[in-house]
């Protein structure tokens, strides 16, 4: 199963190495990891997508992350409402006469052409994993030259009320 984690970490030298090293050592397979500044000075937010075997492994991942001195907060977004986005840049072979066709094709994805070359166009698309995969498949017949993807970044949705179950679950983690 895929586990999506959002971490608040201290913005210190080595913190990315600490987290990725932990996943390597414990044998958890990272699918994507993104990191950037958060709303708080000195803290970064990391989004990690990890492939875990079962719920026990999922708990272990959370606990091991929590144990890290530089990790301030661990939120498991897997089963919670969240907004999650990834950005992809896709360079596609495109002769001049194909460009308007590609433009039409990508429009429903709210993707756009960022750069036009003699023989290719570079497309920017933002969205969930499925949407990006779908667009890539549609573009494949034109000839995909390069893809760069950021990996997923995510935030939990604002919740109106926190259930006592959730609070208990979080308390048992600490």
């Amino acid at each position: 199963m895929k586990q999506v984690l959002s971490l608040l970490v201290r913005d210190q030298a080595g913190v990315l190495n600490r987290i990725s090293g932990l996943f390597l050592r414990r044998g958890y397979n990272i699918e994507a990891i993104t990191v950037g500044k958060s709303e708080r000075v000195g803290l970064s937010r990391m989004t990690i997508v990890v492939e875990v075997e079962d719920n026990r492994a999922r708990e272990q991942v959370k606990k091991q992350l929590h144990k890290q001195i530089d990790v301030i907060k661990v939120s498991d977004l897997t089963d919670r409402p969240m907004v999650a986005r990834e950005l992809a840049l896709i360079r596609v072979s495109a002769a001049a006469q194909e460009r308007s066709e590609i433009n039409h094709l990508i429009e429903p994805f709210r993707a756009r052409i960022l750069d036009v070359g003699k023989a290719s166009v570079t497309i920017e698309v933002t969205g969930g994993n499925d949407k990006i995969e779908a667009l890539i498949e549609l573009l494949r017949p034109y000839g995909i030259r390069e893809i760069a993807r950021t990996g997923l970044t995510a935030l939990g949705r604002e919740q109106l009320e926190r259930s006592s179950e959730q609070e208990a679950a979080e308390a048992s983690l600490v």
């Binding site: 190495n17 090293g21 001195i69």
Partner: protein
């Protein structure tokens, strides 16, 4: 940054007068943390630091190899309960600490380790004696630092001691570039510590404790598994009281030995691969398993599928990540062991309905006691340990490496008191026991310290013999010499058709001459009838001594859970069954 106010400027001017070098800050901070001994080895990158130590008035033990220094610090930490402090230079000095750091990490020993580093201006250029210690030690330390400004040192050292010794203890490393040790900065010991990501839970949830109390009153076959967490929390007296009040028998892990006195009627002995039959049977058949401060290591559980499979499992641990890691747990209790036990003892605790169970266990123990076959021509290692127990009344500090001698010591010493046992448990480090004994002796000068080592492991760190005479440390070194890497030889005998691949050591140095060369008394004993005489002699005073004890080279450690088997599948449980262990599938 806000503009400086006049007051701040004044303060800065005042502090400037009090500025010192990074090295002087380190030395003062160590003093402020109450450090009374440092284990270390100098080198280029720590020259400034050693210069500051020259007349600092802190004792420094000059090991002969950095690995010796860090194992000594581990022994010191294990006995004193305070962080062991180590200093090594950059590059090879620091990489030689790797084994000790990993050992301390897995056995939860508090260390503060300072490594020199090349200057910040050449870092990353493959400079002379440069090694990437910060990234190399990340996974084998509880936390580590690389300090780039002398002004950060007061905070870093304060945090390092706090992190090493609180929560689940562990090693903390500070990598210190040479220029930072010369840079000047003010020193004020920070009053508080700001580590928002580090707030260990030490006090248990009342709700969880009450669940445990209810389970105890219903249990018919309860057992307590007590690990080193009991000892780290200094909770051994609470453990005894708790067991007595609830009438629940106690099994110790290897590292938990000493928590219960060996002759306590509720003590079943050590569990695990070479544990007592009764201890493992109790773990196997229990209906309630209360784990206090143990981490269900694979050498304890055997195949986890068979471990405590009918039991309701309660796990008290200060490290939440240990709970549910190996064995599914019904009642997790995140807490310091002493806090949890003290609270439990304050409740109106009912005892378990355990009398039938205790009788059953007692019958099992009578049927399957520890056994060995005495021999009038050859010294049996078990007899050596029993004799050491008798001569030291079960009160000596015993240190070991890993392997057969370690298991015999664990099985036969019979610890009367807590905090007397220093062994490499999780990592299983050869060469640990002897330097650890040096550190233990420094932590407990008035106590008898016995390093029980094998001939193979001793040869890994025996250069530290120089320290006994130099520092007047009355460590007694007993080499259980079987001319082999005993445990490797045992496994090859049992599971590899007696193909003794590189496990025999037919050539041995003359340990008696070696002892003499290092200025201490050396003895060799081969005759079982001379053993007592020699051991009695070495225990009459507090002088260092080394005894090369030639033991039966064929002797194996029994009983044993063969690899891959469950805790109920012990073999070699009686003399008639030894040597018939099933070959590995």
């Amino acid at each position: 940054m806000a503009e400086k106010t006049v007051a701040q400027a004044d303060d800065a001017a005042y502090r400037a007068k009090d500025e010192r070098t990074g090295s002087e800050i380190v030395v003062q901070a160590l003093k402020d943390e109450g450090v009374d001994v440092i284990f270390g080895y100098p080198g280029g990158a720590v020259l400034h630091l050693y210069d500051a130590l020259y007349d600092a008035g802190i004792a420094h033990i000059l090991a002969r190899h950095e690995q010796g220094a860090i194992h000594a610090a581990e022994g010191y930490a294990r006995i004193s309960g305070r962080p062991g402090v180590v200093i090594a230079t950059s590059g090879p000095g620091a990489t030689n600490l790797m084994t000790g750091l990993t050992d301390a990490m897995i056995d939860s020993l508090p260390l503060v380790v300072i490594t020199g580093q090349v200057g910040t201006h050449v870092m990353g250029t493959d400079a002379f004696q440069e090694a990437p210690i910060f990234s190399m030690t990340m996974p084998v330390t509880k936390y580590n630092y690389q300090v780039k400004k002398a002004a950060d040192l007061p905070r870093v050292i304060r945090e390092a001691f706090h992190l090493a010794s609180s929560g689940r203890p562990g090693p903390v490393l500070i990598d210190l570039p040479k220029d930072v040790t010369a840079e000047r900065a003010p020193y004020v010991r920070p009053e508080s510590i700001d580590l928002p990501g580090y707030q260990p839970t030490t006090v248990p949830h009342e709700v969880q404790l009450k669940k445990l109390v209810a389970l105890i009153s219903k249990a018919k076959k309860p057992v307590i598994l007590a690990g080193a967490g009991i000892l780290h929390a200094r909770a051994e007296k609470h453990l005894v009281q708790f067991a007595e009040r609830t009438r629940i028998p106690v099994v110790h892990t290897l590292l938990g030995l000493g928590g219960m006195p060996y002759d306590h009627p509720l003590y079943l002995g050590m569990g695990g691969m070479h544990g007592l039959v009764v201890a493992n049977r109790a773990l196997y058949e229990a209906d309630l398993l209360i784990n206090i401060g143990a981490r269900f290591d694979d050498r304890l559980t055997g195949d986890p599928l068979h471990f405590a499979k009918n039991a309701t499992v309660v796990h008290i641990d200060i490290d939440p990540s240990e709970i549910g890691k190996i064995i599914p747990t019904d009642v997790p209790i995140v807490s310091d062991a002493r806090e949890a036990l003290a609270r439990l003892l304050s409740y109106p605790l009912e005892n378990a309905d355990s009398e039938d169970w205790l009788n059953t266990l007692s019958a099992i123990n009578e049927r399957y006691p520890l056994w060995y076959t005495p021999d009038s021509h050859m010294i049996k290692p078990q007899e050596v340990i029993r004799l050491v127990h008798r001569l030291t009344r079960g009160e000596a500090i015993i240190t070991t490496d890993v392997g057969q001698h370690q298991m015999w010591a664990a099985q036969y010493y019979g610890f009367q008191k807590a905090h007397r046992w220093v062994t490499s448990g999780g990592l299983g480090t050869m060469g640990f026991g002897f330097p650890a004994a040096i550190g233990a002796k420094l932590a407990a000068r008035d106590d008898t310290v016995v390093a029980i080592v094998g001939d193979a492991g001793f040869q890994m760190t025996m250069q530290e013999l120089a320290l006994l005479k130099e520092y007047g440390l009355g460590v007694k070194v007993l080499i259980l010499n079987n001319f082999a890497l005993g445990m490797v030889r045992q496994w090859q005998e049992l599971f590899y058709a007696k193909r003794y691949s590189e496990s025999l050591l037919p050539f041995q140095p003359d340990y008696v001459k070696m002892a003499e060369a290092y200025g201490i008394d050396g003895y060799r004993v081969q005759d079982p009838f001379e053993l007592e005489q020699v051991l009695t002699r070495i225990f009459t005073d507090d002088a260092p001594a080394l005894v090369d004890i030639r033991i039966d080279p064929q002797e194996n450690v029994y009983p044993m859970i063969p690899p891959g088997k469950g805790i109920h599948q012990m073999e070699g449980v009686s003399p008639s069954e030894a040597g018939t262990l099933s070959p590995r599938a």
